[in-house]
């Protein structure tokens, strides 16, 4: 059977959504389209040399700026969450057995790109939280042997300096590359008018109520810095473990476990079958555990 004839792969979550004419991948794609469209508008008003001032102006002074920023942030969050669920769904449904190793690794790259897009977008706030996240991420990348400092400079720029590097990567590298890689995966350029329109209406409507503020400059901040929600588990680990260990466990673990699933041979029985079952369980436990750690860290820091 050729690839084109093969039925679309579906995990247990997608199987429940499909009767409604939806898949998690479509939701993710629709959210990406909305995030990119609103991002293009925001990019016109954003100056990476004056990030905090730009964010203040977009959030408060420029007409409809708050709406575009809110829709951008919310659609990006929806994109990230639905992509995570989409991945978990396919790990649960063992879809990695039905695609080539190369395709699976390409999807791992899409996931990394999505994380890069989310994180670089957070840095563009330019407030105390973003500056701290930039410094921590730069320190984390510098742990990488040989090229760590160069990778850090190339991706994040100089901590404390302008945000040109994260700005460019947010706009181009981490948006265009996952999109292009997704084209081969989804075999379509976008999620369709209905899903995209629904996501656009949902996120723009929510942005009418949700107005994220610009944050505080680094030198005024006296509280506890949070970072993005998906960074809080790492923040908690960094309080207790050396940086190198955290980078190896989180970075290497996430990429190795996810990508490694494609190398388990897809056998249900025998040694390979046991390896696959162990890796699949480890993936689900690691992701679930990390998300719980993020939640626990949030509750601990907010004193709830």
């Amino acid at each position: 059977m050729s690839r084109a004839e093969r039925a679309p792969l579906a995990g247990p979550l997608d199987a429940r959504l499909r009767p409604m004419g939806l898949t998690l991948g479509q939701v993710a794609f629709g959210a990406l389209v909305v995030a990119v469209s609103s991002g293009v508008v925001l990019g016109l008003a954003y100056d990476p040399a004056e990030p905090l001032r730009s964010t203040e102006a977009i959030s408060g002074a420029l007409p409809f700026g708050f709406l575009f920023r809110g829709a951008h942030i919310l659609s990006a969050q929806l994109f990230f969450v639905s992509l995570l669920l989409h991945t978990a769904d396919h790990v649960l449904g063992r879809s990695y057995r039905q695609v080539s190793r190369l395709s699976w690794w390409r999807l791992v790259l899409v996931g990394l790109g999505a994380l890069g897009a989310m994180f670089s977008g957070f840095l563009l706030r330019g407030d105390a939280d973003a500056r701290a996240a930039q410094a921590i991420a730069a320190a984390g990348l510098k742990v990488v042997p040989m090229f760590g400092a160069d990778i850090s400079l190339g991706l994040l720029g100089e901590p404390g300096g302008g945000l040109q590097a994260p700005y460019v990567h947010h706009l181009v590298t981490f948006t265009l590359a996952p999109w292009l890689l997704s084209l081969a995966h989804a075999r379509r350029a976008w999620a369709g008018a209905l899903v995209t329109g629904a996501v656009a209406a949902l996120t723009t409507g929510a942005a009418l109520v949700y107005h994220p503020g610009p944050g505080l400059p680094s030198d005024l901040h006296r509280g506890v810095l949070w970072g993005p929600w998906y960074f809080m588990g790492a923040q908690e680990l960094l309080r207790h473990l050396p940086l190198g260990v955290v980078v190896l466990v989180l970075g290497g673990g996430a990429v190795g476990l996810t990508g490694g699933l494609a190398h388990t041979g897809g056998a249900s029985a025998g040694r390979r079958g046991r390896v696959e079952a162990a890796m699949r369980s480890a993936w689900l436990l690691a992701v679930g555990g990390y998300l719980l750690l993020c939640l626990a860290s949030y509750l601990a820091r907010s004193g709830k």
Partner: protein, 160 residues
Amino acid sequence: MSFYVVGMSDEGTSKRPPQEELASPWRRETVARLALGGGIIFVGGWAYMALELARSAGPGSQAELHTGLDPSAIGRGVLTFPRLLLLRDGRGDVLALDRRCTHLGCLVSPSADGRLLRCPCHGSEFDRSGGVRRGPATRPLRRLRTSLDSRGELVVHVKG
């Protein structure tokens, strides 16, 4: 005006060798290797030039900060600058400290009473002389050299 070549039709009856013969496996492999090598050199060159450009476009490596302050104006509080803190230590000497936490580089800020310097990221604490009071940081804050300019105002040597 049309030209016709006698003996040649649209099908190309002339003895043109098939594509496979032209591109023998050895030749194709060589071309592929050359293309890969060229691609790697090209991407590597781009990456090198991009990093050089990023380095030179980074924030200016300011060596000195002229604070415009008379040292006697520094009292018991902590003066907070974007990248450094000015304060008096336990002996009353003026001290300039790099604000970057020695754990992961977040900027420390003085506590409300000014007795401690706290990192808001992972909770490290430093005393007024920059010494570690609480981890995860293990090294003291970097002390910056200070001097007076011709007007008797404090200069902090950021790089030194």
